[in-house]
């Protein structure tokens, strides 16, 4: 094929009055959108190669660069958007599946933005978290039916619990999908703030064993990097059934990203594609899942909570009930906005459920069945700020997973090109030239700062509601009111309308 019909997505504007031709942009663009013209002795750009990651914009010492949406317009057509047309051009050229990175970016309703929080006025006092103690500590794991106390001590033995200082964890991102420096940043931030990070399905690199008490180790359908020491290394084990960005599809790491260290960590030959099967081939039912849960519990002498992560899909409440009955201690549910290192575009944008509805449905169902105490609920899939977390907890979550937000704290600009391996921010890449752009000391500080900032904000919001412990907010849907929602949506969310 000779002529490509694709046109640039972005326009690089260079202010020539400010550009000093220092070539910092040239050296920082892995897509080679900036070029040094030796003959003209000046920097020029190729718009077609720009992905709008803004690395050059951020590093330009004279702020000479701006990236805009490419102004070229197709003839206006309410049915055929530019994206729809461009996708067809691409597929007509490649004959392949469209791949993308990060989470669903389509304009579906965001229910967090249709939920409002309560505050105390006159009839109950609000609390100032700067003056009074405020408890955010969270324990994840199976809770006993009742507590018996004798001589000031608990009679029964508590099932293993995961202790969090703040009800936030870094969600599963494998070594392979993101760089070792990105994982080191998150692991160190988790240690600093008393929370957990999750290995994803990529195994545990030897440098990361020291963060064991802040690690959730994942067992996915490919079983990459799973061995006894790995299971023992973490504070909890998570069986990954699915993820929000691509429910029904296994992880896929192209061979180019499987260098020596990734291959050693995953226990696969160097350069081979690491393709996780879509299902676990030993799990075709809840009973099968129970076998794997108990195999893992046996393997770790019942000392660690075992969780199961699933994507939010249509029958989520029934599935979650089955998982609870299969013996899971934690259920993690990933909504359809959850991110990914690589997913088919059509799956990412069209499969799954908003996490808000899934969470409310699951929490209600587990309560109705009287088994809510048997599992902790962790939800993820585009938690954007501390208010989302407070709303999630009021809807019934025990804690939240943040993935995209955590990567943004490390410098991610959501260009959605994780699958290309050319991440200019050193996050979603294994190219040593790019990986070293992320200094894990700086990364850890930034990610830890985000957690502390959100911790302060959660306390402020709780205080406003007159609540001094996060436990009192859990599943407390009276603290929420819906706005701009249908009766059906309100009833699924289990919240009253604003004004009621």
């Amino acid at each position: 094929m000779t002529l490509s019909l694709s046109t640039p997505d972005f326009l690089i504007e260079r202010n020539r009055d400010r550009c000093i031709n220092c070539q910092v942009c040239v050296r920082q663009c892995a897509n080679e959108a900036h070029i040094w013209d030796e003959e003209e002795q000046r920097v020029k750009s190729d718009d077609a190669l720009c992905v709008d990651c803004q690395r050059c914009v951020t590093l330009c010492p004279t702020h000479a660069l701006t990236i805009r949406k490419y102004p070229l317009e197709f003839r206006e057509n309410a049915n055929w958007s530019a994206n729809a047309i461009k996708a067809i051009y691409k597929q007509a050229e490649s004959g392949g599946i469209l791949l993308t990175g990060m989470g669903n970016d389509q304009p579906y309703p965001i229910f967090w933005d249709h939920l409002l929080l309560n505050a105390s006025q006159v009839t109950n006092p609000s609390i100032d978290p700067l003056r009074e103690p405020m408890e955010l500590k969270t324990f994840l794991g199976r809770k006993p039916e009742k507590l018996m106390v004798q001589d000031g001590k608990l009679v029964e033995e508590m099932p293993p619990q995961l202790e969090l200082e703040v009800p936030i964890m870094f969600s599963a991102m494998s070594y392979g999908s993101i760089s070792l420096n990105a994982i080191k940043s998150l692991a160190a931030a988790a240690e600093k703030t008393g929370i957990m990070y999750n290995t994803g399905e990529g195994g545990l690199h030897k440098d990361l064993y020291k963060y064991g008490k802040n690690t959730i180790v994942q067992v996915a359908s490919g079983r990459f990097g799973v061995h006894p020491q790995y299971l023992e290394a973490g504070a909890a084990i998570e069986i990954k059934i699915g993820q929000g960005a691509k429910p029904g599809i296994g992880g896929h790491l192209p061979g180019e990203k499987v260098g020596l260290e990734v291959s050693q960590t995953r226990m696969i030959p160097e350069g081979t594609d690491a393709i996780s099967p879509a299902p676990h081939h030993d799990i075709y039912s809840i009973e099968d899942l129970r076998q794997l849960i108990y195999s893992l519990k046996e393997a770790t002498q019942y000392r660690k909570p075992v969780g199961v992560k699933i994507a939010a899909v249509h029958n989520i409440a029934a599935i979650a009930s089955g998982i609870a009955r299969a013996g899971a201690d934690i259920i993690a549910i990933d909504g359809f906005r959850g991110g990914t290192g690589a997913a088919p575009l059509r799956t990412r944008d069209n499969v799954g459920l908003p996490i808000e509805l899934a969470l409310a449905a699951v929490d209600s169902r587990l309560r109705e069945e009287g088994i809510r105490n048997q599992v902790s609920l962790v939800i993820g899939g585009s938690i954007r700020n501390s208010a989302d977390i407070v709303k999630a907890i009021a809807l019934g979550a025990d804690a939240v997973y943040i993935g995209t937000a955590a990567l943004i704290s490390l410098g991610c600009h959501l260009c959605q090109k994780c699958n290309t391996g050319k991440c200019n921010w050193g996050i979603a890449t294994q190219n040593p030239l790019l990986v070293k752009r992320l200094n894990p000391e700086i990364g850890a500080e930034r990610a830890a700062n985000l957690i502390s900032a959100w911790e302060h904000e959660i306390k402020e919001l709780l205080g406003g509601m007159g609540i001094n412990a996060i436990e009192s907010l859990r599943g407390n849907r009276l603290m929420l009111r819906g706005i701009g929602l249908s009766d059906r949506e309100l009833s699924i969310l289990g919240v009253m309308s604003a004004g009621e």
Partner: protein, 152 residues
């Protein structure tokens, strides 16, 4: 003494250290655009990023305890301050014989491209008293200014 140490494992090779060093030692130390666009001769950085990718790191004068350039200097322009330990080149005395360039074991002394026939080298930004600009402007913490020998 405090020296600048490179942590090559975090050097992104962007050369912002070179850009800011050049500005700090130009006619317009506080205006990066003027330093590059108005000054007749392009300002010379006194720090150089050595590259053999994926390895890169910024190198500047090590301010050696036993600085060979000070001994080789025929005019007494190259001096090591006995108090601060900083090695500087007094450009009013420098005759541009380049002996210092010849003897520097790190290749950290260069000819000044600014038109004067003098040697140009890192002065640790001692005139402004603070953090050297290369350290201040490294976007990834790949340069540190410390009086302890940097250990990884």
């Amino acid at each position: 003494m405090k020296r600048v140490y490179a942590r090559e494992e975090f050097c992104a090779g962007c050369k912002l250290c070179e850009v800011h060093c050049a500005v700090a030692h130009s006619e317009y130390p506080n205006d990066i655009i003027k330093a590059f666009l108005k000054q007749k001769v392009k300002p010379t950085p006194r720090v150089l990023v050595e590259e053999n990718q994926p390895v890169s790191f910024a190198l500047q004068c090590r301010h050696c305890d036993d600085a060979p350039c000070t001994k080789a200097c025929i005019s007494g322009a190259m001096q090591k301050d006995s108090l601060t330990g900083v090695v500087t080149n007094d450009e009013s005395r420098c005759v541009g014989c380049w002996t210092c360039i010849l003897v520097c074991p790190f290749g950290a002394v260069q000819r000044d491209a600014g038109g004067h026939k003098v040697a140009s080298k890192c002065d640790l930004c001692s005139s402004n008293g603070g953090l050297p600009v290369c350290v201040q402007n490294c976007p990834n913490g790949a340069l540190v200014f410390t009086d302890e020998l940097w250990r990884r």
